[in-house]
Symmetry: C2
Subunit: 111 residues, 2 copies
Amino acid sequence: MVIETKPIRYYEARAEVAKALSHPSRLMILEALSERERCVCELTELVGADQSTVSKHLAIMRNVGLLETRKEGAQVYYRPRIKCLNGFFQCVEMVLRERWEADKVWVGDRE
Amino acid sequence: MVIETKPIRYYEARAEVAKALSHPSRLMILEALSERERCVCELTELVGADQSTVSKHLAIMRNVGLLETRKEGAQVYYRPRIKCLNGFFQCVEMVLRERWEADKVWVGDRE
DNA sequence: TTACCATATGGCCATATTACCATATTCTAC
DNA sequence: GTAGAATATGGTAATATGGCCATATGGTAA
């Protein structure tokens, strides 16, 4: 009974993208960018961390292909590279919603 | 110019789900489970890691609400708790596909 | 040129993650 | 009851991640 799998590289590439999405500050940034492009200084203010920290978060997302950049003078504007992030977040939302429902039922059982 | 955000807890909860999806072995397991439920021993053979390692991967996904379990004798069968993972993976696929296309163009530019 | 602003990178430290091994727990079979 | 299989958990070591500070880089403006 051998299960069909794809080469490890396949899963590694997908895990890398998911990992880029797995930090609160990065999700906050993505949400802000879904509205419109922003420069690093705006996002630094948004996140409230050191500018170098935010720069590294942005590099992580750009490296996996989630973001792209545009230079304007000394500023660098970041924007989403894809439009499908809704599908991703809808799924995460459903996980959280179902979990919440389950917790509610479970708590109810104890009373 | 203050950007609208939600409370940190909001992003943390979502990042936690994404983090549970950000390991190659866990993605391999999810793919196998999308077909049908499996016991830990099957998944251990699939991943090719120590049984305790696989058990911990499964616990991570169960704790965030991605998987649920069913006991049958001494065995524990895991299955997905939600049906929307396609939306998630379609988005990841698109990121990878777009990145691949971009790389192709870029390489072409150098020749 | 110099001074200054915006961004990226290197260094370092604290913490988190992952792996394995050993062991505990739970169930089946005898 | 004991033995053994299936799974979960604790310990520990190696590596990865995330934060800040300091600094490098690239741009603007005088």
